[in-house]
């Protein structure tokens, strides 16, 4: 079985069917203010992951996927006004931003990071050290949970005082054609997401309507619930190490992560 260097999303016949239905059927309009509680409940409904302290983040806003959350963050803090860690989302590297090593984080400079992390296929192993360093250096933490919907065993205490915001998206279920998600903040500031949610209150309702349709038809843990056995079988047969992401494995021969999204959906 071939591993894929590019980590493809799980795109099975059910997801293709949902997409086809979205384009062929009539659907109800779901506005921002209706979508927020629906999505909030959906993201919180995972039985495979535990995020404590979620309720401390009572400012909830619609985002067009986690990259939108990141872009908004960059606008807010400026290109040189934030930091990332090594082995982060490739988007930063494509734009010329590279990581500071744990232990060398800059004081008072906000940090944005992805959890789980694609390179580890789980929460970063140095997460607790990073938390302690951020505490010591007064660094605000913002978490990109883009992979949350296809993950298991993500257990984090969000009530940590340095964690200021986080975001989740539905895109990892082959829904990148309709990027939609939520951002949670302890305190809302004026930024492009606040403008989109509080000033332009009637934009992109196609995205929220489609997101609500997908939520109605798909449990958040769909990936692991559907493909747990197949993931196990593929890993066992090929001597690959499973990760906490349903479609990502590690090849022990080189220690690299690879995608099995296509293999999972192949009969």
């Amino acid at each position: 079985m071939q591993l894929s260097k590019r980590i493809h999303q799980v795109n099975d016949s059910y997801m293709k069917e949902l997409k086809a239905r979205w384009f062929s059927e009539n659907h109800k309009l779901v506005a921002y203010n209706e979508f927020v509680p629906i999505a909030d409940e959906w993201f919180k409904s995972s039985k495979l992951n535990t995020l404590d302290g979620w309720n401390e983040f009572d400012c909830k806003d619609v985002i067009m996927g986690c990259t939108h959350y990141i872009e908004n963050f960059i606008i807010r803090h400026g290109w040189d006004g934030f930091q990332i860690l090594p082995l982060e989302y490739g988007y930063y590297g494509m734009l010329g931003k590279f990581g500071n090593e744990p232990g060398d984080l800059e004081e008072n400079k906000p940090l944005i990071l992805s959890l789980p992390n694609w390179r580890y296929g789980s929460i970063r192993p140095d997460w607790q050290d990073v938390l302690r360093e951020c505490e010591k250096k007064n660094i605000d933490i913002h978490i990109d949970f883009a992979w949350y919907t296809v993950a298991k065993d993500v257990n984090i205490d969000l009530s940590h005082p340095n964690i200021k915001s986080f975001a989740m998206s539905m895109s990892k279920y082959s829904l990148s054609w309709n990027r939609i998600g939520l951002r949670w903040c302890k305190q809302r500031s004026m930024d492009s997401i606040a403008v989109m949610n509080r000033y332009y209150t009637d934009v992109n309702t196609a995205l929220t309507s489609c997101g609500a349709f997908m939520i109605e038809n798909m449990p958040i843990d769909y990936g692991w619930e559907t493909y747990r056995d197949k993931n196990h079988k593929i890993c066992t047969e090929n001597n690959w190490t499973p990760t906490d992401l349903i479609h990502v494995v590690i090849d022990p021969n080189d220690g690299q992560t690879y995608g099995i999204g296509d293999a999972l959906v192949t009969p």
């Binding site: 807010r76 809302r188 500031s189 004026m190 606040a194 509080r198 000033y199």
Partner: protein, 159 residues
């Protein structure tokens, strides 16, 4: 949540030849900054926890005694160059909704009155402060909603 922690960045331009102007910055009559100004730009940064209600930012400008004004070149001025609240430069709000209440020197004010000049008690959007006095800006918390209300033209005129 019924309150927020907001960072204020106030940039004051002090120009003087002898004594510096003195500024004190208040939120709702609680002094948040009281310090020395040097010739040129001075950026003052502080944080405050604001309840979700109405607030007033006030800058008290003082130390303009009669001797500090000798000529247009040899004088003492204080200007508000920039005001950033919660990371947002609110210049246009300042230019529309702030006001200054000068404390005119008594003798000078009397002369102006004799000459038939009417001195304003409140000067809308004045950010250059030649006379001693107080500059005010009313705003509401959450601050992001105040900005949205401004954009929606929902803020009340102050004068």
């Amino acid at each position: 949540m019924s309150q927020e922690e907001i960072k204020f960045e106030v940039t004051l331009l002090a120009e003087y030849w002898d004594e510096p102007p003195i500024a004190k910055i208040y939120i709702d009559d609680v002094c948040k900054w009281d310090g020395d100004l040097s010739n040129g730009s001075n950026t003052i940064t502080f944080k405050d926890t604001l309840n979700f209600t109405e607030h007033t930012l006030r800058i008290e400008r003082s130390n303009k005694t009669d001797g500090q004004h000798q000529s247009d070149e040899k004088t003492q001025l204080l200007s508000l160059e920039k005001l950033v609240i919660d990371g947002v430069n609110i210049r246009d709000i300042v230019w529309t909704y702030s006001w200054y209440e000068p404390e005119y020197p008594k003798l000078w004010a009397l002369m102006q009155k004799k000459q038939g000049n009417v001195l304003e008690e409140k000067i809308l959007a004045e950010t250059n402060w030649g006379h001693n006095g107080n500059w005010y800006l009313n705003f509401t918390s959450p601050v992001y909603m105040h900005i949205i209300n401004w954009m929606n033209r929902e803020l009340d005129a102050v004068i």
